[in-house]
Assembly symmetry: D2
Homo-oligomer: 313 residues x 4
């Protein structure tokens, strides 16, 4: 467990952001690794790995994006828009019009997001021994998403679905260490300390045709798979399923508490999870090593941030 | 005005995202420029340029972050937290706890954000001739923030406050072309096509001591300053004030409609604006050229996205 | 169509609230009728006719209340609560604790509510000829729910399900004038000018066991039933289904535009609709005439208000 | 303290709503008192006692309604409106248009509302000994606003401002028992068990001209005034200030914990508070005894409900 680091807080005047003992594996992002990551791109192509946030409440759009059953979907409202001017609203300075909007979002289970280390814990201690009493209605004053800072790292794609030569893995597939290693070997990539590893299941493409299947069992990491990645000292693990770890029938987390992927990563090792990725264009590119950038919104005390992760090929 | 481009849409299956005629200056991000940008960092240090999103409604936190008067401030709620477990809530699998949250945010005027090209327009046409009738209550189906895609570019800091040897510029300062050029010369940087240019006024530091001063006149670009940047074919202009352009007494946009900075940039040239940046650590670093990454949330039809822009030094 | 009335606006200093030409059938609430309504109760028992607003987002509660498919369900958040004190939050004046909360609600289709006259219209005119251009992103400046004022009226229950001796009517039942009249006769009540008439289908009880059935065809008024009530000069019609009028298979409004219940009531005659009532206790009471009170929240420009309608028996 | 009552729960099938030991002084609403209340009106005029909910975020409306400094103001959004049709949106059945909306509201300190008994407490016990651990992020499972049910009572106006012959009382005025009694005497009214007493200060009219004055010290009840009302066995106390009790300079609650009005009423005696009333039309009517109806929204676990209280004269 990381307890100290000499990475300076990047903006101390806004409070405790960047405190090393709350940043977990983000402390692995040494200057050399950041420079190495920036040297990875060969094509100069930047890809978004996010699903769209469809928040209109006057149509079915929001329900067409992969999500867990019963979660509050994003809501997007315009407080002034072009329709208002069409209906006669007065303009600014006579000719200028403005549109303005608001977003309501509960990231977990509804959209591409990154978990904070305060998202899950065991007993009464968060990651690194911080008290869970610090996670209150006004946010997590320990291990919030505002403590993470920018993730600029070498990204590695382990495309398990492609390795199995299927468009998506079945909900019963549990991705173990051996499968990760064989995928890496077959795809000619090596996982290194400080990497962000993206595990593609293809399961995000299931929702469109069969929402009920998506909202039940999902393919994902099992404990051995998660352990293998943690042992490589990765910074974060991302996947195109809901929980990085597998879901059993009924949509529950696979594994006992001792072998739970969230416990293993977020709680024991401070390794971040990036969930509900969209990896189809990245997979189609055939590129497996790239510059990965994640810039979670510095929501004070947030347990997650909606995210638009970027792969630069 | 850019009307065509051969950058392929990065995720056509989610709809029209990436359509070149709605992306404006983001089309300038050619592969070579992306690669050049990635080659810029020397230190391997990644800095966030965002202000925190303080959304607690049970304390004054939200009111302590720079914002415009009367705007709805961010609200952050926990739907389950550590306090609930302290009060006896039942855990998952017996020992695991989870915290979950929701965010309500109206980005313009309240937090660090990037404007979409659909944010402002003149007459009944958006950027590039798209009809303003496309901007409706369910979002902008033309030129929404979901059309931008990732911004990976060479970043340049023009630190006007430092050039004037003041902690912040007075609200009456109008940054014209000459001042930008003399700042660039003095700081040894050159603005190139495809750059993102960050103009530091230092004015974001005024709010803490004097909110009323912050919410009145602000230093910022005038038309000649904006024109000079647009003429260099920049992708985006960012600043640590509210509107990139200057605000006159009373907080209104400086300049006539013909010389309005939002009209010049967003509407006429498709140049993006990134507002309410926090540039103090970047300024302190003394680095003026860097890799700049902005990954706006792909909010379908959004007029903006809250943003955590990254400078990699 | 009512176009004038001499009921004085009750709070002119807050603006136009109470303007007679936007109040529709609420103008029928003459002083004598209000006094007669108050003289109706015999038992001194006040019953709520609302369904609960279950807004917790950390459990399935919100999904257990009858609602239309795909609508954004209520969200209820605590900004400070007892759990926070259990976890060590500092109290007020040393010993006092406070809990505070927030509600997000889209009333139509999710909870008991009253429609404003601006909720639906035909062509480009609202009720009474007001322009539909007045209904904009910042609310309806004509015929908003803030114009209604208190509804204090004689209430009449027409319990069609009881008349048919079933717990609830099938989704295929269309309640016509004849069925309303025979129900009234059988139950010994008379509908008078100025009444609020509640039509019980029992269909709200279907949701618990069979949400999909609830979200498909629903029993309700057909055009002849609606016309008969409108012809009696009622102030409002309430029902325990979603739309007062019947829904056809697939959940669409029954009837052509010319025979649509929303058009007939809200738009043509300014008769209010109160939807998604909970009428089970009222039905069990056996009382068919009562004092009815509805006090919609004066949401400026709202198209509806969540409502707790009261029957005083 | 009321611990038992034989008022039957009005809707047990929705859960625990109406449990007598969580309803406090609402148990005083016996059938006879309800009938007596209904017999009070003489004029047949129904008045709203609520301030408008101005939630538009594209203009300053929301800031013009009396509120506490720093509270999140109501937000009202349209998800579809007349402007959209003016801009070309497709209609229903060819000719019908619909407008739909959403409301975000934090009632305390922002709008007319009624406090639940779970809003404030002392030590670790709510009203009537219920554990404060029951008040969690997903709402108060004891003493929530959903437990109150309808308030149908005799209403009494004690117009202290009129008694002092001023448009509004100064912020330094503390309304004690003697002042209440002399007001009642002068205005010829008697406070009885089961009444809802409305205390008019006129202070809500201060906000329009001087928001800062409104948000500082406020006139209101002191402990002797509150005690006198509680001793009369009133059901609820309402006022046109923010907290029923007085606020000292800086906006803090007047009095020690032992003499705090919220503790005395909500916590010790289960007497409800109705705050931020608009009493100007009622005062102008010259009527001091009336039928009072409050129908709080049954928000499960809510600490308050926005409210449109009604006086029937």
């Amino acid at each position: 467990m990381i307890s100290e680091a000499d990475v300076p807080p990047s903006r101390g005047n806004w409070g405790r952001w960047g405190d090393a003992d709350e940043r977990g594996a983000a402390n692995l992002l040494t200057p050399q690794r950041v420079l190495d990551a920036c040297a990875t791109p060969r094509r100069g192509q930047a890809l978004s790995l996010a699903m769209p946030i469809k928040g209109s409440t006057s149509g079915p759009g929001a329900t067409t994006v992969p999500h867990l059953h019963g979660r509050p979907l994003p809501q997007h409202f315009m407080s002034i828009d072009g329709g208002d001017y069409a209906a006669g609203a007065r303009k600014i300075k006579g000719e200028m019009s403005v549109a303005d909007d608001a977003l309501i979002v509960s990231p977990h289970g509804t959209t591409t997001h990154m978990d904070a280390l305060s998202h899950m814990w065991r007993g009464d201690k968060l990651y690194n021994g911080h008290s869970s009493d610090r996670v209150r209605s006004y946010g997590a004053t320990r291990c919030g998403i505002d403590k993470v800072g920018p993730i600029v790292a070498r990204g590695v794609l382990l495309d398990v679905a492609a390795h199995h030569e299927v468009p998506f893995l079945d909900g019963a597939v549990r991705i173990d260490a051996q499968l990760l290693e064989s995928t890496a070997d077959a795809q000619g990539v090596e996982v290194r300390a400080g990497d962000v590893v993206l595990v593609r299941t293809g399961f995000s493409t299931v929702f469109g045709d069969d929402p009920a299947r998506y909202q039940d069992a999902q393919p994902g990491l099992d404990f051995s798979g998660g352990s293998w990645l943690v042992d490589q000292d990765v910074v974060a693990i991302g996947s195109d399923n809901v929980a990085v770890g597998a879901l059993d029938v009924g949509g529950t987390f696979h594994g006992s508490v001792d072998e739970d992927i969230h416990m293993l990563t977020l709680w024991s090792h401070g390794v971040y999870l990036i969930e509900m990725l969209w990896l189809e264009e990245l997979a189609a590119s055939g590129v497996h090593e790239f510059l990965f950038v994640a810039a979670p919104l510095p929501i004070e005390g947030g347990t997650a941030s909606p995210l638009n992760p970027i792969a630069v090929l």
